[in-house]
Assembly symmetry: C2
Homo-oligomer: 235 residues x 2
DNA sequence: CAGTGGTCTAGACCACTCC
DNA sequence: GAGTGGTCTAGACCACTGG
């Protein structure tokens, strides 16, 4: 059962993306939307809040909700988005090369993680338009995932976690920095002689706040880019 | 007049940061908080939502709101945070060296911005613990800011914009990439011979969706780092 | 002035967790 | 079953925008 507010959000987001509501125009007022969808004004307001935090609209007091025009370029690191979801939305020709799957007793020290249960390590090279782009090293807790088949690792881990296993991924802490990497890794990513890569370390948590996954992603800096939508917060 | 929900948010955030509510413990329930603050449950829920998106708490259905322990390390690019606010919260010894203030007819082409009014250009080198860290090049629209004095540029632009001019900064689009920069810039930032810097380009907008400011920040990659809190979104 | 979004209330029913 | 958060309603008053 999808909540009424989410259906409204989806519907409005679709109409914005498909140009039924165009950038710089105003959405119908909150009262009109409430009538249109047969919902209370509070429910509509919740939807508009979600669209606002997604960067699709901007609310202006006394005037209305105006459609922004970043819908196409948003390439967010500040939401949790997977390689496959990204490629789909950008329409890129992407390929995943599975390098390693094995169970390990613990996670490397530089994650500063003291969990004691075994993890499944998955190492994958992501290739876009024939060029090596990212090396992903994932560690997935065996508390929640007992086994990962090569075909799942080559396809999409998140699709498997969320749709097949029913896990609820909730939030992540990401640490982005630039590192000089090993010669082996530099060769794999076809880096410049300086061997600098952008390292994104992620710690991913489930709805019950338990640690679920650790990832180190090494990006080729010449092709690394992300676009982020940020709001000024009151605190 | 501060809204009741914001006072509750501030109060709870303070109690979390000061350890009155400790990580891994639960906040009082929504009904208890409503009684405590003399507010309706909806108002309390709005506060808890804000704390959730700030990454201070995590709500668990049927159980309660649990305090997370990232309050210290959050160093967000996904909110709009200024150099001064950051340094204050991290307690760093920072210094700003003003290099240039002048009015320019238009903004460099690589911002892909077609605004025609003049902008004020401000160029500043940020030095942390004696080491050059960031070169900021700002362009501020003369539609909203007529003049910027050197002392303001050396202190804090945002403090001036928000508190003195009463401008309402609302949202920004940020584009992060790694670039090879000029020898002059490389020398200023004391870069490695490869002359690679992390470039953060920002476009900042006001509450009425008008473009207000453009910034190019060149970071020394050896000291560049940001930590981000991300939530998985439904859409 | 009428219309907009911003805040707030008091209630309701549901799904979930834990005992 | 009692308590929790999730969703939703119907109403109220406010501050702001525009003509």
């Amino acid at each position: 059962m999808t909540a009424k507010q989410d259906m409204i959000t989806q519907d409005l987001a679709g109409k914005i993306r498909h140009g039924i509501y165009t950038p710089k125009s105003f959405l119908p007022s909150e009262n009109e939307l409430a009538n249109l969808y047969g919902a209370s004004r509070n429910t509509v307001r919740k939807s508009l809040e979600d669209l606002t935090s997604l960067g699709l609209i901007q609310k202006i007091k006394g005037k209305g909700s105006i459609v922004l025009d970043f819908s196409r370029l948003s390439f967010p690191i500040s939401r949790i988005t997977t390689f496959n979801e990204l490629n789909q939305s950008l329409g890129l020709k992407a390929e995943t090369k599975l390098l390693e799957i094995k169970e390990v007793k613990k996670v490397p020290d530089d994650f500063s993680c003291d969990n004691t249960e075994p993890f499944i390590k998955v190492k994958r090279l992501r290739i876009i338009d024939g060029e090596p782009d990212v090396l992903d090293v994932d560690y997935i807790s065996t508390k929640y995932v007992k086994e990962i088949s090569p075909s799942v690792a080559e396809h999409s881990l998140y699709d498997y976690f969320e749709n097949d296993l029913g896990l609820k991924i909730s939030y992540a802490v990401k640490d982005v920095s630039v590192q000089t990497v090993s010669e082996e890794l530099a060769k794999m990513l076809e880096l410049d002689p300086d061997r600098k890569a952008v390292l994104v370390k992620s710690m991913v948590y489930l709805e019950d706040t338990s640690l679920f996954q650790l990832t180190a992603s090494y990006h080729n800096p010449n092709r690394f880019r992300f676009i982020d939508f940020a709001r000024r917060s009151k605190i």
